[in-house]
């Protein structure tokens, strides 16, 4: 899964220190806003993936797109993990996939259907039967600046609210 780390600088930490016990809530709000934008960008990238029909491949042939059902499964399975604090006191979340692509994709190996995380990985990294399309990384590149601005706005807005109290 692609990773994007946004480090809060000293300026933010000083600002957040004014917030006292409210710092945790503000950090979580800012991270959620950033994660929401990233998740929306990934969702758009999934919609824009080239489509291909599922079939038995000929020798040397590869899928260059994604079947409609797999795209839908990726859209349905995409989610934002609950924001948590790690042992270093950093707040974090993950954006990823859970669930399965349904009984139509079931096999002996995957009786519940293909795991959506597996589908996402095979599209992003490529596989013996699929050309790689790094849609998560491209989505992150597109929105990184927007995410930083949005998180900045949330922190400033929430701090202002606290100061007015």
């Amino acid at each position: 899964m692609a990773r994007m780390t946004i480090k809060a600088g000293d300026e933010y930490m000083t600002k957040l220190s004014y917030a006292g016990t409210g710092a945790s809530a503000i950090s979580k709000k800012a991270i959620f806003e950033g994660a929401r934008i990233v998740a929306d960008a990934i969702r758009e990238a999934i919609k824009n993936l080239p489509e291909d029909r599922f079939r038995l491949l000929q020798k040397g042939e590869k899928f260059s797109g994604v079947p409609k059902e797999h795209k839908q499964a990726l859209l349905d399975g995409l989610g934002i993990m609950r924001i948590s604090e790690d042992k270093n006191g950093d707040y974090m979340t993950r954006i990823g996939w859970e669930g399965y692509a349904g009984p139509k994709t079931a096999s002996k190996k995957y009786p519940k259907g293909l795991p959506t995380a597996l589908i996402a990985r095979s599209i992003n990294k490529g596989s013996i039967v699929r050309r790689k399309i790094p849609f998560v990384r491209k989505a992150l590149n597109e929105v990184k600046e927007t995410v930083i601005k949005a998180m900045d706005e949330v922190i400033n807005r929430e701090l202002e609210k606290l100061m007015k109290r």
Binding site: K125, R137, N141, K144
Partner: protein
Amino acid sequence: MNFLVIRDILNKIIPGKVHHYEALEGEKAPYIVWAEDSEGNTLYADDKRAEVVQQGTIDLYTKKEYDPIKGQIETALDEAGICFWYNGAYFDNDTKIIHHEWIWEVA
């Protein structure tokens, strides 16, 4: 810096087994596939792209555990002053191939 430097670096490590975008059909591991696939954090100035940052990947496919080629790629990229990070390894249980991936950026 022209991003073709990536191709030249890799060709010195395993000559003849370096492919652009896609490996040749029937290629046997170990082999490398590299590709430029997106734009990084390009610098804009005066309403123009002042410093274009090209982003791409290097994929090493190998059947060898602890393959020294992995270290050779990283050392060569370091020595050439190329920005890169290791994006992980994935094991394909069907083909028994280990897939290492790096992301690179060249300005």
